[in-house]
């Protein structure tokens, strides 16, 4: 019985990991003393009412708008004697009458909408009207101010201000923090979060020995200064920027955007302020006397797919590129789903279709075409406008590009057309249906674009983004950092801070972090360090039963989050712990082992990517960040571990647990080769099996194994050793995986058995988890 249940349970659980949005508060069903519009009412109205009674003027029913107080209070158009909302009097409010009537033809939401209100939701609305039906501006569109630091009972636990916010939440909920994680697990967590790599033996040893009060902070500083930090931080930004090594669309031939990726790593490592980091990417080419580096940064906006399909209608695709930029900008930098307003006014948020195309207008003046060339040679690897990386660049400002040959190297970047291309609202979002002409502008409800301060171009847009009154930029980015460190954002819907987005689990903390970030020069490393230094971060990841019940989603952070590593890190842990990792930074993307025939089965046959030409030698052992991404056939081992296919901007990956992941970890040559190489290394150092098991465990899981773990693995080693002794042919076969040269170890049976032990350790749940 258990068996069957478990299977179903898994299926259901994974179905819901991605869709359990914004329900926690409402399912709690505890009637608040004071009903708050933002936290209690708007989520209901937005979700169930605004589609017909909200911002979209074209779909508005009965002329009634419920998203704005004045409209909701005034007399109804259809029944002038009646008002939708009568503050203080639910019975007199048409809204309340219509959501409670027994008459199904009158009842709201209408049956045809397939939506209903729960009894609790109706009671909330009733109480809200009773208490005056007070509207409030949407929290995310009000600039953050630094809240007062909350009082906490357990002062001793607090290490920095972050902890005051989390602890006061826990205390309100009756939870207390977990004890601090043990130093070994803490170091693994820290190392993965900062560098994306497991700690080296040297760091493990030093950290274990360092008993000084500053030991942890020293390690944080050391890791933040490690160049692997830039690579780790670049992983998320590649998703944001939809970076890939091919143009996308059907023929999907090669493109050379990787020097831009090298710049991102460089920028994180030199800790460029977030303000410059983003401003350069948006408008580096327009900065007066722009440097070559600033120009290269604008590659950000050219990472979108570009067609090479002969016969397309040029304008259709050119418009799609501009749309992609506007959508990427909205989702990743200001956390709003502006793309919903491409075809019509937004259904939930106060963004009109006109505002969408005002934002679009900023990106509509690039000197580009829809179809520049079909599949071809190196001249097609970047589309105009592009920059050519010169010898001077390599000797100077762009030294960080890891160029490996003297071939011509071109990278697509932004460049304005000299004359201004007119922008129009496109009817239903369609390229061939221009209607009203628009000027560059930003959504009024977020922050109006002040033309007397900012030029009406991308440079001005970058200025607007970092205007101290912009309510979103800092919140959205600190939330993305929080998501990287704690697994889930304070706003869980990372890409949607609008009405339909998730409410912040700890709004004061979010605002405090955002204001602090702005006040300290948008210093990314500083904010990272603060999160890493907090006691909140340093808790153990154990899940006591009472906490599983009281807070299954760990919203209150009374324990450290525990989650599976992202795709790139799965690979990096395997390579680094076996000693195979080649830590070169940057350069053209590489093609490691991949099951045969994948590219060949899916290609049009045109272009240099029609067949997968696997690399050899050191290119097989580069970090996951450098794995070649062909958009139409992204690397399966990455996709199965939930990586982005880089089709469009992504700000959040799902985290699943599937049998295909198990198959990869058991059968992928990368894992087998790493096991073989590490086994040989250990056996060459000595033949004491227990010692070798301990050593392997420590390298891979990054902690000293418990006695039980060693004995289980030692038993397993003996069993396998006996098998391979009996079947020497099987041992030879097992030891043949991977191209790395064979080691000179005479005892093949022991080598094969140790290889099996190590593969087992790679497959441990803890190995691939941040614990």
């Amino acid at each position: 019985m258990f068996h069957r249940y478990a299977i179903f349970t898994i299926g259901i659980l994974t179905v819901f990991t991605a869709c359990n949005n914004n329900m926690q508060d409402r399912t709690a069903e505890v009637m608040p003393d004071s009903v708050d519009y933002n936290f209690h009412i708007r989520p209901i109205l937005s979700d169930r009412c605004f589609a017909c009674h909200g911002p979209d003027a074209n779909k508005r029913e009965a002329g009634l708008r419920l998203d704005i107080a004045d409209s909701a209070y005034k007399a109804l158009q259809e029944t002038p004697g009646l008002h939708a909302l009568v503050p203080g009097n639910p019975m007199a409010s048409a809204v309340f009458q219509r959501i409670t009537t027994e008459d199904s033809t009158q009842r709201m939401p209408p049956i045809t909408s397939n939506m209903t209100l729960s009894g609790f939701e109706i009671k909330l609305i009733e109480k809200w009207i009773k208490q005056g039906a007070k509207y409030k501006p949407h929290w995310a569109f009000v600039p953050p101010t630094s809240p007062a630091l909350p009082e906490v009972d357990d002062e001793d636990w607090v290490r920095n201000d972050i902890d005051r916010f989390t602890l006061s939440h826990m205390e309100q909920k009756g939870l207390s923090p977990n004890p601090a994680a043990d130093p070994e697990r803490l170091l693994k967590r820290l190392s993965l979060d900062v560098t994306g790599l497991p700690p080296t033996i040297d760091r493990m040893d030093r950290f274990a020995k360092d008993t000084s009060a500053k030991a942890y902070e020293k390690m944080v500083d050391e890791l933040l200064a490690d160049s692997a930090y830039g690579e780790k931080m670049a992983i998320h930004w590649m998703d944001v920027a939809r970076y890939a090594d091919s143009h996308g669309y059907q023929d999907d031939n090669y493109r050379s955007m990787w020097p831009w990726r090298d710049w991102v790593i460089h920028a994180f490592n030199k800790n460029l302020s977030y303000k410059d980091f983003v401003s350069w990417q948006i408008a580096g080419d327009m900065i007066p006397d722009a440097t070559r580096e600033q120009l290269l940064a604008t590659g950000f906006n050219r990472n979108h797919k570009i067609t090479e399909e002969g016969g397309v209608i040029d304008e259709e695709y050119r418009v799609s590129y501009v749309i992609d930029r506007a959508n990427t900008f909205s989702k990743s930098l200001i956390g709003i789903t502006m793309e919903c307003a491409q075809c019509h006014d937004h259904k939930y948020d106060p963004f009109s279709q006109k505002e969408y195309f005002e934002l679009y207008a900023f990106f509509n003046n690039v000197k580009e075409v829809g179809l520049e060339s079909v599949v071809g040679g190196p001249e097609t690897y970047a589309k105009k406008p592009y920059m050519e990386i010169t010898k001077d660049d390599m000797a100077g400002a762009l030294r960080f590009i890891n160029r490996q040959d003297s071939n011509r190297l071109i990278v697509s970047v932004m460049g304005e057309d000299t004359s201004r291309r007119k922008s129009f609202v496109l009817g239903r979002g369609s390229y061939d249906n221009p209607t009203l002409e628009v000027q560059p502008g930003t959504p009024l409800s977020v922050l109006p674009f002040n033309k007397s301060v900012y030029p009406a171009n991308r440079l001005g847009l970058a200025g607007w983004l970092f205007d101290e009154k912009n309510p979103l930029t800092a919140r959205v980015f600190v939330n993305q950092l929080w998501q990287q460190v704690f697994g889930t954002g304070i706003v869980k819907s990372t890409g949607d801070f609008g009405m339909q987005g998730e409410l912040p689990s700890n709004p004061q903390l979010l605002d405090w972090l955002a204001v602090d970030f702005m006040q300290h020069g948008w210093d990314v490393k500083r904010t990272m360090k603060m999160m890493l230094m907090s006691a909140t971060y340093r808790q153990s990841a154990q899940i006591p039963k009472n906490k599983l019940q009281a807070d299954p989603d760990n919203k209150y952070l009374s324990r450290a989050p525990r989650f599976r590593l992202p795709a790139e890190m799965v690979r990096d842990v395997v390579l680094a712990s076996s000693g195979l990792l080649v830590p070169t930074i940057g350069g053209p993307s590489v093609k490691p082992y991949q099951p045969p025939g994948l590219w060949e089965m899916a290609t049009s046959g045109r272009g240099s990517l029609a067949t997968y030409k696997q690399d050899h030698g050191t290119s097989l052992y580069r970090r996951g960040l450098y794995t070649f991404i062909k958009r139409t056939v992204p690397p399966p081992s990455m996709m199965i571990f939930d990586a982005s296919n880089r089709d469009q901007c992504e700000v959040k990956r799902s985290s699943t647990n599937t049998p295909l992941q198990a198959l990869i970890m058991l059968n992928d040559p990368t894992v087998l080769e790493a096991s073989r190489v590490l086994a040989a290394k250990l056996l060459q150092q000595g033949t004491d099996a227990d010692r070798n098991i301990r050593q392997a465990f420590r390298l891979i899981v990054c902690r000293t194994p418990q006695a039980k773990e060693v004995s289980l693995l030692a038993e397993y080693f003996s069993q396998q050793q006996a098998y391979y002794k009996k079947e020497p042919g099987q041992a030879i076969k097992l030891l043949s995986h991977g191209e790395y040269p064979q080691a000179d170890v005479a005892d093949k049976a022991s080598l094969a058995a140790m290889m099996q032990v190590i593969t087992t350790i790679y497959n441990l749940e803890e190995t691939l988890s941040k614990t």
């Binding site: 478990a6 349970t9 397939n114 059907q250 999907d252 016969g311 040029d314 599983l548 599937t658």
Partner: protein
């Protein structure tokens, strides 16, 4: 201990399930996925969360979609237009074209000469359906299929058109058709994914396929299409590596389970137990899948039916046979892609080759399902992403010509699973350029297929980034005329 966490999961699921219901997530979907016990004793308050969700009985339980990638010409297959032969070489009348947009490939042509089919047509079956000589086997099952001559789409280029057909939107990153069905209907076989993808290619001009076509989009990645083949490695990473046999594997998994259990005891994280179960499922797949994908044990009459190519891994014929086996074993949605149908030039030659690749096996699949009594519950679909122009692209000679993309009308066929058999639906004008009767939009097609599967296309919803998504976006109508 184990019971405790199962209990917790069930409770958590119940809670999440109910809260999602109030958001309108299809309960049809979950009903079939969930354990009956959980809902057997449904209380009234819980029932109140499921208003208005229809439970119409599905006619089809599974889909096999034989996608003809690149867009086969309707004018050489199922839409007979003698007028084009009569008017061979004459200009497409402006009154017919009505200024419709053209692709960049022929927009620059100074003339649009009409071109008739190089192949002859004959009438077959109770509907006296016209089918070209390229598809004799399909003609042989004409009374089991429903030919739709009035399909139309919105996109004019391959990538957006394919993406539209497979995800309901042109721009990518939405959930694919199969993923939606996996989400909506769940799996019938715990050892197999609910959504499988099989690729093949002919010698004709091809346009490639893209993994976004079987992407889960915003749905959870368990709904992603899993690529299968009939070769030595039927699922990626499935085989034990050289030097490890299944006993070794079992021993390793036992160690792993024991060690992971230690971890569970320390951390209490339910994900660890899930992990253990996923490894067990992987192990079961290692046995179940190769048995299933081994076509060599099929009896001779079946091999004969599909033709000799069905034993060559990676051919369309092999994929059709494999699709039948997968379907028979409960895979909900099997998507085949046969590439090579993009005949901008050299059409007669290439199209003959492409048709030869697919005709026999497509018909065999129908016959095979029927003789097993499975056709009634299995919906088979055959067709491409758009149609082709009635005028010639490029040079026209006595026996050679090409056709450009034409989204305004094209033909597909469907069979089984509640589709009305032996009929021809819809009609185009005598030039084969515009639809004159019973148009079927891609959204309508999706809505109809979903209906046959027992799903209301307006109610199978997934909320992502604040918006409720449907396969049919905000449109689509069920077409009763297609259904038995």
């Amino acid at each position: 201990m184990k019971n405790e966490f199962i209990e917790r999961h069930l409770n958590m699921n119940r809670r999440k399930f109910l809260s999602n219901l109030s958001l309108g997530v299809g309960s049809v979907a979950l009903g079939s996925l969930l354990i009956p016990d959980l809902f057997g004793s449904k209380s009234e308050s819980e029932a109140a969360f499921m208003p208005g969700v229809p439970h119409f009985a599905p006619k089809a339980k599974r889909v096999i979609y034989l996608f003809q990638n690149g867009a086969p010409s309707q004018l050489e297959s199922f839409d007979y237009k003698p007028k084009l032969r009569e008017m061979m070489g004459q200009e497409l009348p402006a009154s017919i074209r009505m200024g419709q947009r053209l692709t960049g490939m022929t927009a620059g042509q100074s003339s649009f000469p009409l071109v008739g089919s190089h192949f002859n047509f004959q009438q077959y079956g109770q509907a006296r359906a016209w089918i070209s000589d390229l598809f004799p086997h399909t003609a042989g099952v004409v009374d089991d299929i429903c030919i739709v001559r009035s399909m139309f789409t919105e996109a004019i280029n391959h990538d957006p058109a394919l993406t539209f057909f497979q995800t309901g939107a042109q721009q990518g990153n939405r959930a694919s058709f199969g993923s939606w069905m996996s989400y909506g209907l769940g799996s019938e076989n715990k050892n197999l994914p609910a959504f499988c993808v099989l690729l093949s290619r002919g010698k004709g001009n091809g346009q490639g396929v893209y993994s976004k076509l079987w992407s889960n989009g915003f749905l959870d990645s368990i709904h992603q299409g899993v690529q299968f083949s009939s070769g030595d490695n039927p699922v990626l990473y499935l085989n034990n590596p050289e030097g490890i046999d299944s006993t070794n594997r079992r021993q390793m998994l036992d160690q792993l389970a024991a060690l992971n259990d230690q971890s569970y005891k320390e951390f209490g994280d339910p994900e660890i137990s899930t992990k253990i179960q996923q490894y067990e499922m992987a192990y079961r797949m290692q046995t179940a899948v190769p048995e299933l994908t081994d076509l060599s044990k099929e009896p001779d009459d079946i091999l004969k039916l599909y033709g000799p190519e069905c034993l060559v891994p990676g051919t369309f014929a092999a994929n059709c046979l494999l699709a039948r086996k997968l379907s028979e074993n409960g895979v909900r949605f099997i998507q085949l892609y046969h590439q090579g149908w993009d005949q901008h030039g050299n059409l007669p030659n290439e199209m003959a080759g492409q048709a030869k690749d697919v005709d026999r096996a497509s018909a065999a699949l129908i016959t095979d399902l029927k003789q097993r009594g499975l056709l009634d519950e299995t919906l088979v679909i055959w067709g491409g992403e758009f149609g082709r122009t009635n005028y010639c692209q490029g040079k026209m000679t006595a026996d050679n010509y090409g056709r450009d993309h034409h989204p305004r009308c094209f033909s597909i066929w469907m069979a089984g699973g509640g589709v009305k058999p032996g009929i021809v639906y819809g009609e185009t004008d005598e030039f084969g350029y515009n639809i004159v009767k019973d148009p079927v939009h891609v959204h309508d097609f999706h809505a109809t297929v979903m209906h046959l599967l027992g799903l209301d296309h307006e109610k199978l919803i997934f909320k992502h980034q604040g918006r409720r998504y449907r396969l049919t976006d905000v449109a689509g109508q069920v077409i009763p005329g297609l259904m038995a």
